[in-house]
């Protein structure tokens, strides 16, 4: 258990001290808030470094903090089968430019996770091979998990 500390120090060493804007540990779950411009490099490092080896992307999900600025947040939940450890990365996304680099080249499973975030929150992923709706019908208007989406 627990190469989260190694992960934090490696990210800081490789990407610089200000890549991580916040780190939290709650009930042994480590959460790092990463600045948007560093997110892809941070994910790639966590995947590729043999000491970290986060080879499983459990989930990518979105959060809409309506009324807060920046409004959106995207959460990456990672798991390392080899080290049996988990880490959570969060990125803030502004409403004016709801876009992030795609992690498909790092974990192929990011394909459908990112499509889900796109479908429900309208956050697009640059470099995604096939970014279209996954849960709602193709002709659907709007993004239903945004807090200002009418329930019917």
């Amino acid at each position: 258990m627990g190469n989260e500390r190694t992960a934090i120090s490696k990210i800081k060493k490789t990407l610089g001290e200000n890549a991580i804007s916040e780190e939290r540990v709650f009930r042994n779950e480590t959460t790092l808030v990463i600045r948007k411009e560093f997110i892809l490099e941070a994910l790639r490092l966590l995947r590729a470094d043999p000491d970290l080896d986060f080879d499983f992307l459990s989930d990518v999900c979105g959060i809409d903090w309506l009324g807060r600025e920046p409004r959106f947040e995207v959460v990456y939940n990672l798991y390392s089968l080899k080290h049996n450890s988990r880490i959570r990365l969060k990125v803030n996304v502004e409403e004016s430019r709801p876009s992030l680099p795609s992690a498909v080249n790092i974990w192929p499973t990011a394909d459908w996770h990112e499509r889900e975030v796109f479908d429900l929150f309208g956050i697009s992923f640059e470099g995604h091979p096939d970014l279209r709706r996954i849960l709602n019908p193709d002709g659907f208007k709007g993004f239903p998990y945004r807090k200002d989406f009418p329930i019917r």
Partner: protein, 173 residues
């Protein structure tokens, strides 16, 4: 009236035992209602009750409707069991259209009938706008006995159906 020969008595007794007079309509409807083949179309928790209805405890085979088919082309009854989402609606319609006539539809459960608790953007608010529903079985979910009762109601309906009914005229309410 002349006396019957002994051999003729025998013939009469034979006919009494083996010949049944009825109308073609009654005969056809009897065979239709006694062997309903439902298409497996479970969408949510109602499907569990539908499976229970098919299994040994409730045993819908007693009413001649146990042969769940995986292909709509071999089925004549569609039990829509569960929440129909907007995304599922075209699939539902396509499978119904692939079923050969004559065919019937049972709307099982609150979601299928009216959208149920899912009064929102993603769920079809009742399938009667998509398919011509014959029997509604309410409940959340309906019990297997409730669904069997629905099938018996449908059988009563099939018994009374005119043979010359044009299926293409069947409309959606």
């Amino acid at each position: 009236m002349r006396e019957l020969e002994p051999s003729e008595h025998a013939l009469e007794r034979f006919l009494e035992r083996t010949v049944l007079f009825t109308t073609l309509e009654k005969m056809v409807n009897w065979s239709r209602k006694s062997s309903l083949w439902p298409v497996s179309f479970g969408l949510a928790c109602c499907a569990i009750e539908m499976m229970a209805m098919g299994a040994s405890r409730f045993d819908v085979a007693r009413f001649g409707a146990e042969l769940f088919r995986a292909s709509p082309r071999q089925a004549d009854l569609m039990i829509v069991a569960g929440t129909v989402t907007q995304k599922m609606a075209p699939v539902l319609k396509k499978i119904y259209d692939q079923m050969p006539e004559p065919k019937w539809v049972i709307a099982m459960g609150a979601c299928t009938i009216s959208g149920g608790i899912f009064d929102d953007y993603s769920v079809v608010q009742g399938i009667n706008g998509l398919l011509p529903v014959d029997v509604y079985v309410p409940g959340c979910p309906p019990t297997p006995d409730g669904l069997i009762y629905g099938i018996m109601k449908l059988q009563k309906k099939i018994e009374k159906e005119p043979l010359r009914r044009l299926w293409a005229e069947k409309t959606v309410d």
